[in-house]
Symmetry: D2
Subunit: 349 residues, 4 copies
């Protein structure tokens, strides 16, 4: 399908779109023999479990399975090798991704996409399974548009992929943050302090909201909702007047700086306030049960899609079950967060 470009005649994506490559007819897909998997974007706990599920379900379904190292960057460089069933032994419970991941600017150009597609051809990759977030799926969609069938699986700690209610890594990241905050509460309580904790989430407050509810935070600040330092101060003082002796403030990184907020609270209330930035430790750790089962079943689902010749799909969790949506459709959605749950959290302090 993209042979016309493989002799050095590089198209741009607009031109390819004009030729309707974005409406790939799945019924015309060539038979799939070789499947590769790559992980892309920020790593997330459960990525290894996802790779393992794809590789094993693929092998047990008769495919030749391959792994790409370092995400799209590695694809572009041809870092592709066959993986057997034993190669993914003892990976289910490991954090991170043994295929490694990277951000590749070069892949965002038509030349980069085409280079990736060529490598698929060279290595006999008839379908590429991509584990990552929206950015990674856009890369997959670009591959699909020039004829490499793809399947996407949502793997990112932020849960910020619109077409799915769950992304692999989200549960582990939240439990990691929660356990850290449980510890911070011990010391905040001993010293009668206010603890201001910055959790991951540059654009999405899912971690902050859920972790805030799970740790009984007095205040939860999200990027999706404007907030006012005066109301933060009022709430803390109201809690003190109710007899509380320590205070937990959760702030998503996109909603403000824990260091700055702690300073403002201390100045306004004279309650000793300490910031903590949880940072990258939320990315690591052995995946929780939820992430391991979700990774395992989504991985199997990806192979089921390929077996059923349903290509260019995103595996998603929707209404309590694992299913799939068209990749273009999935990428066009907008995600919203439940402001009702934020209001409900205020009834719990």
């Amino acid at each position: 399908m993209f042979e016309e470009y493989t002799n050095g005649n590089l198209p741009n994506l607009k031109e390819m779109k004009a030729k309707n490559y974005d409406n790939i007819d799945a019924s015309q897909e060539p038979d799939v023999h070789g499947i590769a998997v790559l992980t892309s974007g920020g790593d997330a706990p459960g990525m290894n479990a996802t790779i393992r599920a794809i590789i094993r379900a693929g092998i047990n379904s008769g495919y030749k399975m391959m792994g790409v190292t370092r995400g799209y960057h590695g694809l572009w460089k041809g870092e592709i090798k066959e993986l057997g069933s034993r190669d993914v032994s003892e990976t289910l419970q490991r954090g991170g991704t043994f295929l490694m991941t990277a951000r590749s600017k070069s892949f965002e150009t038509p030349e980069g996409v085409l280079q990736g597609a060529k490598m698929c051809q060279v290595f006999g990759v008839d379908c590429m399974v991509v584990v990552g977030g929206d950015g990674s799926f856009r890369g997959a969609r670009d591959l699909a548009r020039i004829g490499i069938p793809v399947i996407g699986i949502p793997g990112t700690i932020d849960n910020d992929v619109a077409c799915t209610e769950y992304t692999i890594g989200f549960d582990t990241a939240m439990n990691t943050a929660m356990e850290a905050i449980d510890k911070l509460r011990d010391t905040a309580s001993s010293h009668e302090r206010c603890s201001v904790i910055e959790v991951m989430g540059r654009h999405a407050g899912y971690i902050a909201l859920n972790v805030g509810i799970a740790t009984g935070a007095e205040i939860i600040l999200l990027p999706e909702q404007p907030w006012d330092i005066n109301e933060v101060v009022r709430t803390i003082l109201a809690c003190r007047n109710k007899g509380k002796r320590h205070y937990i403030v959760i702030v998503a990184e996109g909603a403000g700086s824990a260091t700055e907020i702690a300073k403002q609270i201390e100045e306004a209330t004279e309650i000793e306030s300490r910031p903590t930035i949880l940072g990258h430790l939320q990315r690591g750790g052995s995946p929780t049960l939820r992430d391991r089962t979700m990774a395992s079943l989504m991985g199997v689902h990806a192979i089921e899609c390929i077996k059923n010749k349903k290509m260019n799909r995103l595996v998603v969790y929707k209404n309590g079950e694992i299913t799939d949506v068209d990749i273009e459709e999935g990428l066009s959605l907008q995600k919203t967060i439940s402001m009702e749950d934020l209001e409900r959290s205020k009834l719990l302090t």
Copy 2:
């Protein structure tokens, strides 16, 4: 509504049904001032978080909140006291239930139910919130039938309540089992053994199925599915022939005895096999994030039902969100487990 019985004229439940007490018209409910909460049946991690959410959301909504100790047994004995906002401080992260729980045979009789209803009247309990499983909800339904409005919240580690996709405690119990099995795998691997692990689930295999997938078990045995020891042995030998050096067998307690199965495997394969019965430790521990958020939001939902005069409801998790169903309807459903997921797990070894 049941005043006619409070002077010692005890009816039986059949007679009460004849008088149509089982079709309580919510619009005729008296205004609710006092609400009590009790936990019943086997304890589950997150019960404390549920109590906390109910008490705080209730107080913040203007109700007088009470706690009943020792479940229906305590209700029957009048072990009811007011709980304030500070009384549930530092309970969110604690395992178990500080209200304690018990099994009460006496409550299953009409006299017992009526005695409970009387105690509600004596203490000004206008609505009773019951946290537990199906058995506990049947007790609640009996109270509802003689005029005490009730709300049920599913709290049991087994996830065996038909009307809801999730019960509080399930996630923690599974993570506890999973972490124990991760450790057992270390030693099974060092000694090249087969480890046969019995997890909770007398009638339902939800824990076994999910934990089996999450730990990469070679074999998962459920009470819902007949199994054959010869096939177990064949699978283990097939895994050995593929190059595996250790084997994990997960058996729900209702599906067989780990001790017996380990013996049979060792006899048939000469692979050293060791049984472990995880038992009650699956009931304890600080709740996971999922159980804490579910407990918190289900607790708030219970109070929202009461505010909206929706009585005799079970709070449930359905299609990815928290909602509620009529208690009689909820109790009439039958739960099934996904045999597809069991088949999928076989693709992962």
Copy 3:
């Protein structure tokens, strides 16, 4: 003994020393009936377990036991109350200190010390048990010098008390840091990054050294040992040349800034480098087995000292067993860290 000062005639400590109050003769101590316990300085996991052990061993030995809230600040204000055996139920496994702790400048003056001593007299405190670090022990020594018998128990996460090989909280803090770094390694490995982690220890590198060994850190930077950024860079490049793909640098807070070091490494090596400041979360959490047993047995030892009329002692861990030293002698020692172990750690990369 200090009655002459209780009518408002405040001495200064120098004057008291001249009167030889610092050579208290234990054989002249009045019989002890009431014992109080306070926690002081930074909180540490296991402080609750220590309080519990003191209170229970004291009650079971026939004493009246009391607790002082907010450390010396609370003593000064008379925040003292009797504690029974049930008051310390369920505290063994809790992080922090339920008696709370505070830093009190006012106590450092002779007036403050005398005010504290008066409160002891008012509440019938015949001996004060102080759980904390060197600063807290100096406060205890001041009390001892004007006639209030004291016992000190080392409780601080930093292990920086010279007279003892172990301080309560040290093991938990190190395990907390280690578990966080295990997670950071997952993500450093997935992205092939350098992770620079700042752990607690303003003046002492015990946490950094042990945690560095336990996490396989490529580089460990201690406050006790000058270091050179060029050598740090050379070591990382040498590791890269050996085939390593990720790098862990542990820096005690007193040895440098993780943020600054990460920047320098990235600039010099072009290896992506990320700082993490673990901060206060190292103070919290349920104590490990070592901290719980040490807390329990040191608490019992404190009561054994009092029973044997050995006053003004510090309970210490020395040569593998719990024993005690004179408080003045204990405070005069200087602690050193093992530079041999730092050298040994370099053999492990």
Copy 4:
């Protein structure tokens, strides 16, 4: 030294002893070039960290390092291969032993020992480092007696090696047991039950004693101390009379059967009593900080012994520091447990 036997002339050990092979003169040892490591007996967390430390410290000191799989059984079969620095990457934090372990009856005969010694010669093993318990050290001593220099490192969860105060794996096993019992307490408390927990320790009560103190057990039963069921019952009833609502009984496996004891308690007191056998899960899990640092520094110490031509030594932890003793002397000692600490534990309930 044993060349006379390598042509098929098999001696028995008695004969070898007569020739004074058990008094090897270290000054006559040949230069060491190749060192092998094996793990033997029951596996313990931290064995991997020990192997890693030996291999890396050995390589960094200029030796050729080898690993033997399956303990003495593998030695006998010649399962020996060179290990490089990268081969032990990512093992520090893993439970179990990647070299695997086994029990080998055949090695207990003179023929077996000689066969092992031959294999050392064949593969160029000039010194064998053995990680295990007393049984494993006796195997090492037998090797030493016929001329293969050995170093032993104590690795067993039971801490039952007389010449050392600490064995690698002990701390992790105890923390694992403690965390399980913390969970069991949650549910015992919710149901007002007695929980009887069997921990590892067939002949030694170290785990039971320390875990009992760390979990606040009402009763601790050790193999080293006879006990009486009537006193157990009296203690539980006394605790009930003091107001306790749940009870923890810890029993070392060598001291009795949890199932039987639970039955007897329930019969005598009518308090619902539940047994739990923690079993093999105490063997697994990522090692704690203490086990990782002890493993790392003991591993380095083993290599330091070899560098200093101190052969046939056991690495031990004594009076708070890592040192070494002669293997024959070490094996001749008897270990005792502190009955004072058992008495102290009774002051804490």
